[in-house]
Amino acid sequence: MADRSAAIAGLGMTDLGKVYGRTAAQFAGDAVRLAVADAGLELGDVDGLLTSAGVSGGVGLALQRDLGLRDLRLLSEMQSYGSTAGQMVQYASLAIGAGMAETVACVFADAPLRQDTSTGAAYGARGAVGWRGLLGAAGIRDTNSMYALAAQRHMDTYGTTNDQLGHIAVGQRAWAELNPRAQMRTPMTLEDYHASRWIVEPFHLLDCCLVSNGGIAVVVTSAERAASLARPPVHVLGWGQAHPGHAQRRHEDFGLVSGAARSGPAALAMAGLTVSDVDVVELYDCYTFTVVITLEDYGFCPKGEGGRFVADGTLGPDGKLKVNTGGGQLSSSYMWGMTPLSEAVLQARGEAGRRQVPEHDVVLVSGNGGVLDHHSTLVLSPHGPAGRSSS
């Protein structure tokens, strides 16, 4: 039987951060062109396109025409918030496995930052109408507040502390210092973390992700085709999704358990691996707390131990577990699920420069959207399914 497994063959990243003068659609076009060129392909080789827009919108089906892509066999806009990037790779892999498409570009781009407005305003504006307006009128105006309520419940239940959350921010900043693309590269101490202003307790400024303009794309193709292309293939060995559908009522585990608890084990099982096989972990880190709950739910430590786990010399370039090696959304840039995915591709290829993790056979990637409502997981490797079993 022909091997119809999929691999990531191209990665394209525009300048990221405070980059002005281009729309989200232009960033998306740039990212796809870069990813296709990175793979050693031409735009005409692309027969599938999946798009994902951020808060500024403007990235969608029109990208086909912007890129002059003709006779596509797969084209759709996708939206599961921060879990979308991982999902795009999953649907691309399924389409390739089914023979529906051969080479699928997956792109996210956003341009929420304007030169004349604050970063808070970029994500804060909402009309006060209906149910959403009611929430804002009652003071719950943004995602920061909702994740803060999730995090505080974890802290109250398991004894997780701000000091422990601070270790995540500090560890990831140390990685970002080694990443020339990172927006924040000045060293950070635990004192700096505690001194940063409160946004919504228990979150300081340094618990929260950045706001960034830019675009990132990957090209997914068959492992067979990827083997003959320009870059080392990054094989897609396993994947999963989980959407808990929490009710708003008594006994719900909001803030305590996320979709990662189902998605992670499913992805690893598909790859025939366990969490102890993972060499590099690239987690969606919209807040420091998201790292804690995802590490627990993936099984790197017992439930409720995430805070103590991350404060115990686990994180950072010298840590026991290699987590968010590019600095993540906290210190590198916020491209939703493309931030962990792009770093995972670089690590799996062995192209992460000064921050390259020597052992990178298995790279685990998470995506998280809504308020812990949507989760996606990918298991990536420089080795194909067959090569891995013989190694």
Binding site: A128, W131, G133, L134, A137, G139, R153, V200, P202
Partner: protein, 126 residues
């Protein structure tokens, strides 16, 4: 200002008629389960035979946070469990942050930004 302004739409018209009377409306199904007021069906048994009823107003803190606003103002935010079971996300007014801990007892009251705005359910310490 204790709460911000908010306008009704089709989905929230009946709910805001309730808050105008000082009530936080929930839905109750024939089996007696309570669901949040934005539900299409009972979130316990999926019944679509829902009747709007006023919550008793008693609640307990599930989680809390303190939002720091420009100018030094702070909002105490909570996820609260209404005594009927559904959760309600809002703020606690006339309180110090230290008083709002997990399990603390609350009472629903309504506040309004101005004459034009709908009334918004918030909490006080019970």
């Amino acid at each position: 200002m204790t709460v911000g302004p908010v306008r009704r739409d089709e989905a929230t018209a009946a709910f805001f008629d309730g808050t105008a009377r000082g009530e936080l409306l929930l839905f109750r199904c024939p089996a007696g389960h309570f669901s949040p007021p934005y539900s299409q069906q009972c979130d316990t048994c999926a019944s679509v035979d829902l009747t709007a009823v006023a919550a008793s107003g008693g609640a307990s803190v599930v989680s809390r946070s303190v939002a720091h606003r420009r100018g030094g103002h702070r909002d105490i935010l909570v996820v609260a469990e209404l005594d009927e079971g559904p959760w309600w996300w809002s703020k606690v007014i006339d309180v110090e942050p230290e008083q709002v801990v997990a399990g603390a007892r609350l009472t629903v009251v309504v506040e309004r930004a101005d004459e034009e705005s709908e009334a918004v359910p918030v909490f006080r310490l019970a």
